[in-house]
């Protein structure tokens, strides 16, 4: 039980709030329940709950505590109005609450109002049970209605005349009636979880008011490892996203939901494909060889292996796009099922997950059923997608013109003619342009190949959920459907998700909950992806980028036309390839909570997460793929399964001013992954596709693979929180992990964390500082492990791939292509996980009656025992061995601020801002690896070194003495030390490619039922290269030109002296640039992406609509609206270069209705 002292010291009549610890619900859900009471009160908890009281000379307070302990009731009252120190003696067995309360307050002037689980205690006359209007007191009557932001009436709101003990509460439709003394009077409206508002009465007799949710909401709970904590007691760096607080829009993925909303959570979208994966890291990635992705915990179950099960085309080395599907494993989760995402950022909080926690934790909590009438929610969104601008390519005329121009320039250079040399033009072969002026003026064919393989896309999304039940049985069930055709043709994604979260109370002490979810994704995969190999291995988008616009789609015989270089596959032919993936994920988490004795609870839970996927690919003969001209079929299947069992005790006890919250337990985890694949070639017909690979004739080309891995982990963990006087909190966490992937000499690891918080505002000396509503400082220290580096690195292996040569160890003998096994890895029995040590200090604050709230954290995250591969002598059979050497660090800060800029009865404007910065650098390098002289020992992890540049050499006069053999059009490097030679002494640190600052910026305006949300995020100070380099070699290749970017026009040539991009002549100095890099056209880039603009209207503010639906909202959303940036590339956010998946501009229309 918690007893708060005055949260708002300016009010002298304060409601003390009591809430049962586990009775923690979403405020808005509470509001909805409250509003439904008027209709469904008959079915309320108050009638089903049975209370047992056996007290001898106990205080009223103790009785109230007892009721809270054994039921879900909680009390709201003011100690000024209710004497809780009065002693009573009562005895009730299985009695209804009304009987108990009647007995408790018999003979007093205190009465009660049971509002579902909330019970308001006050003076009888204030509860409206007597008519204040008729009493013979002086003053006048003021009436009105109190609602929430959405217009729903609030029941049980305290309405008090400021400076007096005169007060009432709202009930029935949120209405109140109060007698206000004559003269100046101010009404104070306060309610659990809402911002308290003061309204001057003036001459008014009717005051309607809407209360806003208290954004700081220190009563809120956050999900931490193995339990929850009240936010006010949190000592570590934890950020929470409540989905209720996000604009209710078209959100298709969990990543999408998180992006920019948590300071310090860095996310790089790797691919814009549906469900596309992101590089996520918390506070900077500092493990050079390990995984930097945070641990995902879903409903309390840590997912040991959260990689996507979708197989890549590993056997099909012949084709170049074998990594084309890059899907996030979180894409299998329906974002609509999520109630909150809690991000644990520092090790004082994450240490409870021990060896897997080094990269932070993302805890995803799904919705739970709430007792009461069944509520049905439907959300439907239709989204239209149009392709954003893609790489701008030359059209047919431009292509021919630029070919002639570049081919001539290359001819001049190759034949050493002016301006590149002094050869006699008469002696050189004659140059004949490939295209005539008339061909250029009137191209016979003008194909926009990108356009031919892209389209307008759409997303159709339907979500239906049920929520309800009795006190004993509560259910949340949902069904989600999403169908997407992306802007890239032949790349469709269809997802079905289903979830049933059930809670069943068994007797008084046992609660069983089962969360069950399944999802099924069927997708077709267009062959796009980064280039892997030469022209013959191009993917569809690579091919579309390079195919000559003057090439027709089909030849006269109907087959796909070839462009000049006949090895490239026709882009449109790619659309004939069948590449389908089916993935399902099934998760079941049963959990048993048993109340043992007061305050002590045992939780036993299990988890099974089964993730399976199959992929089938067929490349028809008709595609005329250069590598597999006779057709190719591949079948793959793979699965990842995570099993877990955990048992732990939770002990929560309050002794006077001391509060304890202790968790301790153990767990066992098993992860399995397995898969197989088959690749065949040689099909006499395309009719059967991949469905009968038995007819493949090139048996010798058959390839097959299979694998199985498993690992176990055993853990013991604890967390102890102690809070004194609601001011001082100390938290100690720890975990001991043992794992089968750990090496012989390090089978067990222990990971502790300690942190503390001080709520300064609770101190007496702060009580008079009115502008500060709350202030808390936190500090913590902890360690955690990165075990991802270990899997497979600790054992001596004879395996069928060496890592030394291009593929495996196979060799052909006769007709048999034998697999070979060779020594591929040496054991290091001392190898251990990377240890992450984090220090964190933070400040949580609220100013001006919570109008400004937020937190600020500074951190230092150090990784030691970095995994590295130490080289052994180069004549050893295996020339490196995994070892723990070196240390890296990330320092940074994070700031989260929410402000309520405007708050009046009708208009409200709220702003949220997250800012974060980190700098990752080396603390200690591997002494065995020799660093180049120019590299700073403790430099940034992503420092780039190279030569500085100084424009292009455009005239012979621009040639510096130290580049005497340079050609015109070459980049001019800077001889930094002025010694007249370009060498390694001129290498300088050019930049660090980590962004300086990342931000998210959110603005919400609401006016009556209308709401408008504008959200953008971005980075400042990320050094990036020029992103639009055209290929003069491709367009200018004699006889075989390939298309390139329109920026080819900006390439320096003898007839384009103002060209900004390097010319065709080889730069022999760059080829001896010791560091390889230079800074030509690189710059510090900033960007802000306007991610969405959402306009919604809550129609249910209209009373007539409210009779049909509790809540009905319609919205229009524009996504990916624009980019504010100084970057000259394609998209600063897509980390995939080359043939990146195109971004789409989306327009969504949606409806969200609750019955």
């Amino acid at each position: 039980m918690k007893k708060l002292t005055s949260k708002l010291p300016c009010l002298d009549n304060t409601w003390h709030k009591f809430r049962k610890f586990i009775m923690i619900m979403k405020l808005s859900v509470f509001v909805i329940i409250a509003t439904t009471l008027e209709l469904f009160a008959v079915e309320s908890y108050s009638q089903s709950a049975k209370i047992n009281i056996d007290s001898e000379r106990s205080t009223v307070l103790q009785v109230l505590n007892s009721i809270e302990q054994q039921s879900e009731f909680y009390f709201l009252y003011s100690t000024k109005l209710v004497d809780v120190e009065r002693e009573v003696s009562l005895k009730y067995t299985d009695a209804p609450i009304n009987d108990v309360l009647a007995g408790l307050f018999k003979g007093t002037n205190v009465d009660y109002l049971v509002l579902d689980k909330q019970i308001v205690l006050s003076k009888r006359e204030l509860l409206g049970k007597s008519d204040p209007a008729k009493s013979a007191q002086p003053g006048r009557i003021v009436t009105g209605t109190v609602t929430d932001e959405a217009g729903n009436p609030l029941i049980g709101v305290s309405v008090v005349v400021k400076g007096t003990s005169v007060g009432t509460i709202t009930y029935d439709d949120g209405a109140y009636e109060i007698r206000v003394p004559d003269g100046e009077a101010t009404l104070v409206f306060s309610f659990v979880g809402m911002t308290t508002q003061e309204v001057s009465v003036g001459n008014r007799t009717t005051i309607d008011i809407s209360l806003n949710e208290d954004v700081l909401a220190l009563e809120e709970v956050v999900v931490v490892g193995y339990g929850t904590m009240q936010k006010k007691e949190v000592t570590g760096a934890v950020a929470t996203i409540k989905t209720e607080e996000l604009p209710r829009t078209a959100t298709y993925s969990v990543e999408n939901m998180m992006q920019g909303r948590v300071a310090g959570l860095n996310m790089d979208l790797r691919s814009a494909q549906p469900g596309g994966a992101s590089n996520i890291n918390i506070r900077g990635s500092i493990s050079p060889r390990g995984n930097n992705a945070p641990l995902i915990v879903i409903d309390g179950i840590p997912i040991t292996d959260n990689s996507s099960a979708e197989p890549n085309l590993t056997l099909s080395g012949d084709i170049g796009w074998h990594n084309a599907v890059d899907r996030s494993p979180l894409s299998m989760i329906n974002p609509s099922d999520i109630v909150s995402v809690d991000v644990l950022k520092d090790a004082s909080a994450t240490a409870i997950y021990g060896s897997s926690a080094a990269n932070g934790i993302i805890m995803i909590t799904t919705k739970k059923g709430q007792a009461g009438q069944v509520k049905v929610n439907y959300r439907g969104v239709y989204t239209h997608q149009a392709m954003k601008e893609y790489y701008p390519l030359l059209d047919a005329s431009g292509f021919m013109k630029q070919h002639n121009r570049m081919a001539y320039e290359i001819y001049l250079y190759d034949n050493n003619l002016a301006p590149y040399g002094t050869s006699d033009p008469a002696a050189a072969p004659t140059f004949t342009p490939m295209y005539s002026a008339s061909e250029i003026a009137n191209p016979a064919v003008d194909n926009d190949w990108i356009d031919l393989v892209t389209r307008n896309g759409f997303i159709n999304e339907h979500n239906l959920s049920l929520n309800g039940g009795t006190e004993a049985t509560r259910i949340f069930a949902s069904f989600g459907f999403m169908d997407q055709e992306t802007v890239v043709k032949d790349h469709d994604y269809r997802r079905y998700t289903g979830r049933v979260n059930m809670d069943q109370r068994i007797g008084k002490r046992i609660n069983l909950s089962v969360n069950l979810s399944m999802s099924w994704v069927a997708s077709t995969n267009a062959s796009y992806g980064p280039q892997d190999g030469g022209i013959e291995k191009w993917s569809m988008l690579m091919s579309a980028r390079n195919f000559a616009p003057v090439t027709p789609i089909y030849d006269e015989d109907g087959s796909y036309a070839k462009t000049y270089n006949t090895q490239a596959t026709n882009p449109v032919a790619f659309l004939d390839i069948d590449d389908n993936t089916w993935t399902q994920r099934f998760m079941v988490n049963p959990q048993l909570d048993i109340d043992l004795i007061r305050g002590l609870k045992l939780t036993v839970r299990g988890g099974a997460d089964l993730n399976g996927s199959k992929r089938k690919v067929y490349i028809p003969v008709a595609v005329e793929n250069f590598q597999t001209p006779d057709g190719m079929a591949s079948l793959y299947s793979s699965s990842i399964s995570n099993f877990s069992g955990e048992a732990f005790f939770t002990f929560i006890k309050e002794l006077g001013e001391h509060r304890f919250n202790v968790v301790g337990g153990s767990g066992m985890y098993k992860t399995e992954s397995e898969g197989f694949g088959m690749n065949t070639q040689g099909f006499f017909t395309d009719v059967l596709g991949y469905n009968n690979i038995g007819i493949a004739s090139e048996i010798a080309s058959n390839q097959q693979t299979s694998y199985y891995n498993e690992r176990y982990k055993l853990s013991q963990f604890f967390r102890a929180n102690y809070t004194l006087m609601d001011k001082y909190t100390l938290s100690v966490v720890g975990r001991r992990d043992g794992s089968s992937i750990f090496s012989e000499n390090h089978k067990w690891g222990f990971f502790p964390g300690i942190s503390a918080a001080w709520r300064i505002k609770q101190e007496n000396f702060m009580s008079s500082v009115n502008f500060i509503s709350d202030l808390k400082i936190r500090a913590g220290y902890g360690t955690s492990g990165n075990e991802s580096v270990l899997s497979g690195n600790t054992m001596q292996l004879y395996s069928n791939s060496s890592g030394l040569v291009w593929s495996g160890f196979e060799y052909l003998i006769g007709d048999m292509y034998y697999p070979g096994l060779g020594l591929s890895q040496l054991a290091n029995p001392d190898l251990t996980w990377e240890t992450n040590i984090s220090l964190n200090a933070g400040l949580d604050f609220a100013f001006f009656l919570n109008r400004i709230t937020g937190s600020f954290d500074v951190f230092r995250k150090t990784t030691k025992d970095l995994l590295d591969f130490n080289s052994l002598p180069s004549n050893n059979p295996v020339t490196s061995i995994a070892d723990n050497v070196g240390s890296t660090r990330s320092d940074g800060f994070e700031l989260t601020i929410r402000t309520i800029n405007v708050q009046s009865n009708n208009l409200r404007w709220e702003t949220g801002l997250t800012l974060s910065h980190f700098y990752a650098y080396w603390v200690e390098r591997n002494p065995q690896v020799r660093l180049a002289d120019w590299i700073e020992e403790t430099g940034g992890m992503r420092d780039v070194y190279g030569w500085q540049t100084d424009g292009l050499i455009k005239t012979p006069g621009d040639i510096p003495s130290y580049m005497e053999n340079a050609y015109l059009g070459n980049i001019r490097f800077v001889d930094v030390n002025g010694d007249g030679v370009l060498d390694e002494l001129d290498v300088v640190k050019l930049y660090n490619s980590d962004p300086k600052l990342s931000f998210g910026f959110d603005n919400t305006f609401s006016y009556k039922g209308l709401d408008l949300n504008i959200y953008l995020y971005g980075v400042i100070g990320r050094n990036m290269g020029y992103g639009y380099y055209p290929s003069s070699g491709s367009i200018g290749l004699a006889g075989q030109p390939g298309n390139t970017l329109v920026t080819i026009e900006d390439v320096w040539t003898h007839d384009n002296p103002d060209g900004r991009l390097p010319g065709v002549a080889a730069n022999m100095y760059q080829s001896s640039n010791p560091a390889g890099s230079h800074d030509y056209l690189r710059k510090d880039v900033y960007f802000g992406r306007i991610k969405n603009i959402t306009l919604g209207y809550n129609i249910s503010t209209i009373p007539a609509v409210r009779r049909i639906a509790n809540n009905l909202r319609v919205f229009i959303e524009l996504q990916n609206v624009g980019l504010i940036t100084n970057y000259e590339g394609f998209d600063p956010e897509l980390s995939t270069s080359g043939a990146a998946f195109p971004q789409a501009f989306s327009t969504s229309f949606g409806v969200d209705v609750t019955f």
């Binding site: 080309s701 199985y708 055993l714 089968s740 003998i813 004549n875 020339t879």
Partner: protein, 484 residues
Amino acid sequence: MKTNRIKYILILFAGLYLSGCEKYLEQKLYTDLTSENFFSTEADFLTALVALYNDFGPDWGRIYNQDGTNEWSYTMATTDEMRANWSSDTRNFTWGTTYFNGRRPYIPRLPKVALCTDVINNIELSDAEADVKARYIAEAKVIRAFYMYWLWDFFGPVNPKLDPATLTDTTILPRMSNADYVDAMVEDLNDAISTPGFQDATNDSWSMWGRFSKGVARMLLLRIYMHEKDWANAEAAARSIIDMDYYSLEPNYEDVFNIKANKEVIWASHGNEASECWLPQYFFPGGYHHGYAGTTRIERSAGWYGYAMHWEFFDKFQSGDLRLNTIIYEYINTEGDTIRRGDAAWYGAIPLKYTGIQGVGPDYPIDIVVFRYAEVLLSLAEAINMQRGPDEAYEWANMVRARADVPDYSGMTKEAFHDEILEERGRELYLECTRRADLIRHGKFIQYALDRGVTNAQPHHVLFPIPNSVIIEGGGIIEQNPGY
């Protein structure tokens, strides 16, 4: 009541800790083997040998692959035989001490020698029958000598690990002396040749085609002695192959390359649809449509034109030489134009050699011929001439010339014959990775480079530099080749 309940719970909880869970923490491998469960049966030995053989296949990254970073290209594209259109470093002798850092053919071939040592040792230690062990050890020793030969040919004597006790040592070994290095190779090869169960040849047992044999071991001995100009031993090695009375010249030159496992081939880098050979793909120009090798029409898709036969080398063939029928010197492009010598960007002829290729490509199931009987005959002729003059040597060389329908050699001085045999080897063995060693042996490697206008060529270029990273790793113990 309450105490009881707590007791039960605590027992349950303690159970979770104490239920012997530690056994789960043992690491189990399901997809890979360890030294504990490998090397016990003959099938294991073969599987281990396959991994050693791996670098001798035609595929990507292996010795006889054409991608420009393997032994194959350095043996020819540094000579008058072939032009590396892609690689100016190979063409212009601009490789330096860092050139081979992390690259083939030094890294990762040198560890392969140690892997052979590991396999030989593990087979020796196993419980298999003695004759089975001896057979596989003999074969592994030939593989080891072959790796050592390539390293030696390119870099001089290096520091391979031949003692199993040193395999995981971090001690830096100095380079061996040339004599010790040669002795080590010769010893391995002689061990193999004297092992009774080890196969003489595999041409007649198709299921073993691709594996090494005593024939391969003798051929390596011949190469080593030729390299050392140890003419007497070279002659003996050549005669030991002839005395096997197994190998013979194919009547038709083209058949040597188009018929697999014919009796002229002692060993070839064996390919099929699974183990693809891309060799022709590297020679055809971008716009190629069709052309003629002799009278054989070769129509196929465009290639990469990574290499071309220097026109000056093409001119070494006299007209009527049947071997010219394996070379394409003009072609029709996709536009229908005929591309002839002298046209821009037509750097040289297509040294096709494998005229039996079927289909448009890009890859073909051909064997890349590496060791064959004609080389034995020409080497024998050279070795005899150097010892006793040409009279006794003509017959061996003329066997090869007769097949090509070119006139017999006769009436030459020792020096003239010596010079002429070099050019005859060029014509006969072009595209078979012999040219660099031949030119170096004849002392013409650098001179020929200077003659082609490679002004960078200097005497020390007869050896490639030890990668700088290895020198640094050696901390002064590993010496760089002179001149670098």
